[in-house]
């Protein structure tokens, strides 16, 4: 559950201190967050797949570049921006606020995608 570890380092440290496994993390920070979710976008053949992804608030989206060419993931509204992702590289961003986030590849701007964040 790497996303949990990144998102709640202090909670995790507390959990470790208390000798708890990561599973009871919710107990350590019961009101802190929506349930952790993870979703993936593949970058393949110069396209984001899926091009449109609907996620719940609190979801961490991980892009993986499956091409030989580098790509990037850049929000049109500058909410997030990856560095150049070479083949096999990944980039993650956690979406907390509802809304529609358009993004594109700054190397190949014809590559566009959208993350729609809304409560289930």
């Amino acid at each position: 559950m790497p996303q949990l570890l990144l998102k709640h380092p202090r909670s995790y440290a507390l959990a470790v201190l208390l000798g708890l496994a990561p599973v009871p993390l919710a107990l350590a920070a019961p009101a802190a967050a929506a349930p952790a979710r993870a979703q993936a976008v593949q970058i393949r053949n110069f396209a984001f797949v899926p091009a449109i992804l609907v996620v719940a608030p609190g979801t961490t989206v991980t892009w993986t570049n499956a091409d030989e060419d580098p790509h990037s993931v850049v929000a049109t509204n500058k909410a997030f921006r990856s560095s150049a992702l070479d083949g096999g590289d990944k980039f993650s961003f956690t979406f907390t606020t509802p809304g529609a986030f358009q993004y594109f590849c700054s190397l190949h701007p014809h590559m566009v995608g959208k993350i729609i964040v809304k409560a289930p």
Binding site: F46, E68, P70, V74, S83, F104, L107, H110
Partner: protein, 311 residues
């Protein structure tokens, strides 16, 4: 606005000239040589068009090591070795971008070391792979931007022809093609304003200035505004890289030519799911990489171009 142009000093600086020898000049059809110091000090003199040859190389992608060419550095070294061995030394080289694969300092430094072996001046424009640093191109400009305008555009005169280097890869915008921007187009207008329409024009930029294939982003969204400024000239040659293959198109007095890469080929437009690196059998690789030789002959509207495979 001649002050916008590189003077001779700028020419030599931009070219990264490091040779200590003499510089040959043609004046009134008489060849002479002057010391480099006096060449730098001398004001640029408008000359008549005279025959000369330059080269175009492109898309060296130093740092690329994937299946399509596990040693892109090696094929770039081979390219420069071929240039160095040419019996008739060309006047200079234009490198039309994607010098590096990932804009790393080590890749830029490596590429510089390799290209210096050619022993002739090299003029650069950036490709989108040269703008992947945190600063979105600052690393490129720190190395190649001295004496240039805006985001690295510039021009110079050589042999009676006017060369214009454009940058259409910085600040690319979502959903479309490459982009020059109003500031660069305004500079271009001033740059060519004082030129006679009989001056041969050579424009070089990374991404095509005509729409070679929109679905793959092979075009420049505001190129029409730039080309409109060049239509009055009798001979305009536009050289680009990016597509890793020889493509050409003629539109009135403007001829567009894209060049091969020295690193790896890409598919023909629409023949593959994406424009990514195309793997060919290893023994065929060098037949799809190459060098372009350009010869400018007075009285001919078209520059003579010869695309030579690496092997």
């Amino acid at each position: 606005m001649t002050n916008d142009r590189l003077d001779r000093r700028g020419f030599l600086q931009c070219a990264g000239w490091t040779g200590a020898g003499a510089l040959f000049v043609m004046s009134g059809g008489v060849a002479g040589s002057i010391g480099l110091d006096s060449a730098v000090a001398a004001p640029a003199r408008p000359g008549r068009v005279k025959p000369f040859t330059f080269l175009q190389i492109s898309d060296s992608h130093v740092g690329f090591d994937k299946a399509a060419n596990p040693d892109a550095r090696g094929t770039f070294v081979e390219t420069i070795a071929k240039i160095r061995a040419l019996p008739d030394k060309p006047d200079f080289i234009l490198h039309t971008g994607d010098i590096t694969h990932l804009s790393k300092d080590a890749e830029f430094a490596d590429a510089d070391d390799i290209v210096r072996e050619a022993g002739i001046p090299v003029f650069h424009v950036p490709g989108e792979h040269d703008a992947l640093d945190e600063g979105g191109g600052k690393a490129y400009l720190a190395r190649y931007g001295k004496g240039t305008q805006g985001a690295g555009w510039y021009s110079f005169d050589h042999g009676g022809a006017h060369f214009i280097a454009l940058n259409n890869v910085f600040n690319l915008r979502p959903g479309g093609l490459a982009h020059l921007g109003d500031e660069q187009i305004a500079w271009l207008k001033r740059d060519v304003a004082g030129l006679s329409s009989s001056t041969p024009i050579v424009v070089f930029a990374h991404i095509p200035l005509w729409t070679a294939y929109a679905e793959w982003g092979w075009g420049t969204d505001d190129s029409a505004a730039a080309l409109a400024l060049l239509r009055r000239f009798g001979s305009v040659t536009v050289l680009n890289g990016h597509v890793h293959r020889v493509l050409q198109k003629v539109e009135g007095n403007i001829a567009f030519h894209s060049a091969r890469s020295t690193a790896y080929p890409q598919p023909a437009p629409g023949t593959a799911p994406s424009p990514g690196p195309l793997k060919v059998p290893a023994e065929q690789l060098r037949s799809v990489l190459g060098i372009r030789t350009a010869t400018l002959v007075p009285g001919r509207d078209r520059i003579a171009l010869i695309d030579t495979p690496l092997a």
